[in-house]
């Protein structure tokens, strides 16, 4: 049901997004600006923020490095606590497992709390095709579901919308009188969803972290919908990325706090839910089924050059500061995850050939790395993605010829000086074009090659007298 643009169409999607802008100011600039402001305020409250971030980064990397051991501990805790664990190799397998669980129990509706992983495995359209309704309960997800759209941000699904858009949507789809006040719109959603929570037979949650120490499944939320769908229904399905493991409850506390500060500028979110398992005697939930999803994560893990991207805690801060994301929002990226983290993950989770342009859709400004709470070197990973892209192409691609020539010219002083002399002559006839950079003059005037380059000036000046 959710429409994902293909990652292959990144360039075209970006171009259309730029062409079809109707609103200035852009929601993608305004809303992310507010998020960054809130984040900066909270980050500054920790006088030792950099140290704390560094400690959290180390702990997170250690957890990633020891995932197999932590999983072994988790499995035994989960067994003890009555959680039924299913391992899904890929998205298709995850979909089958989830659909099977619901179908076997005759359940025709499942209430979902926010889960980007559930987007990644594209569960919603699959369930609908088998006659089961997935109902999003997170306000932002509920909104984009009504619009038949994919979420445009990792933590703020309706980032691309202004209040008027939501007002129109609710008036049309819920039949309520038009309002654009967020409080009133939220009240409508609360009303619509309340009875659904109470009568739900199944809930689906995204697990932010599983804690090896106790086996708890931790979910970070603000709205209370996560609690609703993991407290009230008889069946709870928890969805978890293979790498989302932390060792201790104390580590979880640190991760929770830095996640809250980075994602929404809060000291703590309204809720940190810890689900240990089904009720031991009577009460809800009767069953907790956990689906642990690989879908490319193990391959990322095996490669030491890419492994550190698994530290990501899905806070979305990198999106908020990214100049590219701010211009075009999340939808043009295609895939599941937009922004800098998406540009690294999409080629890795899918086939890199499905997303050849993602590593290049960045000015490498480094704002993402600067804000990342777990210090992921995103620009470096993007550069590596570029290198891998080049290495997977045929050896004599047109671009390779360009760079071979470039290298050859630059390696020899004589060649360089000859080439630049030639360029000077050519520019006399084509002053508008900045030849080596195609596309430059579509939007910008070209600089002129100086009549006398620096090297000539220095040589002359040196010959004239002393240096």
């Amino acid at each position: 049901m959710n429409k994902h643009t293909s990652p292959r169409n990144l360039k075209q999607s970006i171009r259309s997004s730029l062409k079809n802008r109707s609103q200035k100011p852009l929601p993608s600039k305004v809303n992310t600006g507010r998020a960054v402001h809130a984040r900066d305020l909270r980050a500054s409250e920790w006088p030792d923020f950099d140290q704390r971030r560094s400690d959290i980064t180390q702990k997170r990397q250690a957890a990633i490095d020891y995932l197999d051991e932590l999983h072994a501990r988790l499995r035994s805790k989960w067994l003890e606590n009555g959680i039924v664990v299913h391992d899904a190799l890929d998205a298709a397998e995850a979909r089958e497992i989830i659909t099977g669980l619901l179908r076997d129990r005759g359940i025709i509706e499942v209430l979902k709390s926010k889960s980007m992983l559930s987007e990644e495995i594209e569960i919603n359209s699959h369930l609908e095709a088998t006659g089961i309704s997935p109902l999003e309960t997170d306000l932002g997800e509920y909104i984009v579901q009504l619009r038949n759209e994919a979420p445009s941000h990792i933590t703020m699904p309706a980032m691309h919308l202004f209040r008027q858009d939501v007002g129109k949507l609710f008036a049309e789809r819920l039949g309520v009188p038009y309002t654009e006040t967020p409080a009133e719109l939220t009240a409508h959603a609360r009303k619509v969803l309340r009875q659904r929570f109470l009568s739900a037979r199944a809930g689906m949650i995204g697990v932010n972290f599983a804690v090896a120490e106790t086996g708890h499944l931790a979910t970070v939320t603000n709205e209370g919908n996560g609690r609703m769908v993991s407290t009230l229904p008889p069946l709870v399905i928890a969805l978890m990325g293979w790498e989302r493991v932390t060792e201790t409850l104390q580590d979880l506390g640190e991760l929770w706090q830095i996640l809250a500060r980075s994602a929404t500028g809060q000291r703590a979110t309204s809720y940190l839910s810890l689900l240990q398992g089904p009720a031991k005697s009577s009460g809800r939930p009767n069953e907790v089924h956990l689906v642990v999803v690989d879908n490319g994560r193990k391959a990322i893990h095996r490669n030491h050059e890419t492994r550190e991207v698994l530290r990501c805690i899905r806070c979305g801060a990198c999106l908020n500061v990214c100049p590219v994301y701010q211009q075009v929002g999340g939808h043009p990226y295609g895939g599941t995850y937009p922004g800098p983290i998406g540009s690294v993950l999409t080629p890795l989770l899918n086939n890199p050939k499905e997303a050849p342009d993602h590593p290049f859709a960045s000015s490498l400004c480094g704002a993402c790395e600067e804000i990342c709470p777990v210090s992921i070197p995103l620009p470096r990973l993007l550069l590596m993605g570029r290198k891998q892209g080049v290495e997977s192409r045929p050896p004599l691609s047109p671009e390779r010829v360009v760079w071979s020539t470039f290298q050859s010219v630059m390696t020899g002083r004589k060649k360089y000086e000859a080439a630049t002399r030639l360029a000077r002559l050519v520019q006399k006839t084509l002053p508008e074009k900045l030849l080596p950079i195609p596309g430059w003059t579509d939007h910008r005037d070209a600089p002129q090659l100086a009549a006398k380059p620096f090297r000539d000036w220095f040589r002359e000046e040196h010959e004239e007298g002393e240096s």
Binding site: L18, Q327, C365, K387, Q407, Y416, W440, D445, P453, F458
Partner: protein
């Protein structure tokens, strides 16, 4: 007397020789002996930026050999210095070159950090009676932590009026080959930077990198705005605005 080997990046050499000239002048005023080896060409950043590591390795090797005996290598370009100090190590150079890089990277500096942090000198400046906004080029800011140094130098310029630039740390959108591969996007980001510069009331925008500046200038010219861009070295020596 500190002996400085100049590194003048290819595009500065060919497009902005005034930046090079101003750099020489400033270093001399700071009491340095300045040399320039004309065998130099490029640090390889454009090829690296595009994912062509093999080609970049050749140029990195050439650079490292060229400057092997230099006491200090100074360049008026933060992005090129970041390339040398940070990214040469990611290229998979052969062990001997890798060692040479470990050795040399501590001697390669961007101009402002060399003057302020290494020499501890504020060279005598000319007069620059104009309103100037400083844009923090990303590589300098985030990879080399250069920000205070150019500001200190600019503040020491006679008659200058430094304007507050909103979102000073926001990327200008140049991004090297990004400007070509994602040309409209690069321009859109630059337009926002240009709007901020306009709002600041500045006559001139400056930075540590002529690459950013050429992108901003190109956009300004296309839009017909009278904003000029100039590397801060030229401001420091009091170059006359045409």
């Amino acid at each position: 007397m500190p002996r400085v080997s100049l590194f003048i990046p290819c595009f500065v050499d060919q497009l902005f020789p005034e930046t090079g000239k101003a750099t020489v002048e400033l270093l001399r005023r700071a009491g340095c002996e300045v040399s320039y080896n004309p065998e130099q060409t490029c640090c390889g950043q454009p090829a690296f930026n595009s994912g062509f590591h093999h080609e970049t390795r050749q140029l990195a090797t050439k650079f490292l050999r060229l400057f092997a005996d230099s006491e200090f290598v100074v360049a008026p370009s933060a992005s090129c210095v970041a390339m040398v100090r940070t990214h040469f190590g990611d290229l998979g150079l052969e062990p001997q070159m890798q060692m040479e890089w470990e050795n040399q990277r501590n001697r390669v500096y961007e101009l402002s950090e060399f003057l302020v942090d290494v020499l501890g000198v504020l060279p005598e400046t000319g007069s620059f009676p104009y309103r100037v906004a400083y844009h923090s080029s990303c590589h300098g800011l985030r990879e080399l932590e250069i920000h205070a140094q150019p500001m200190r130098l600019l503040h020491s310029v006679r008659d200058i009026d430094i304007c507050e630039l909103q979102d000073r740390n926001a990327c200008c959108g140049f991004g090297g080959t990004f400007a070509s591969k994602f040309s409209s996007l690069s321009a859109a980001i630059g337009e926002d930077k240009l709007d901020a510069i306009s709002r600041s009331g500045a006559d001139v925008v400056t930075a540590t990198d002529d690459s950013c500046l050429m992108h901003i200038q190109g956009l300004a010219k296309r839009r017909g705005l009278p904003i000029r861009s100039m590397h801060y070295a030229r401001i420091l020596i009091g170059e006359k605005l045409a």
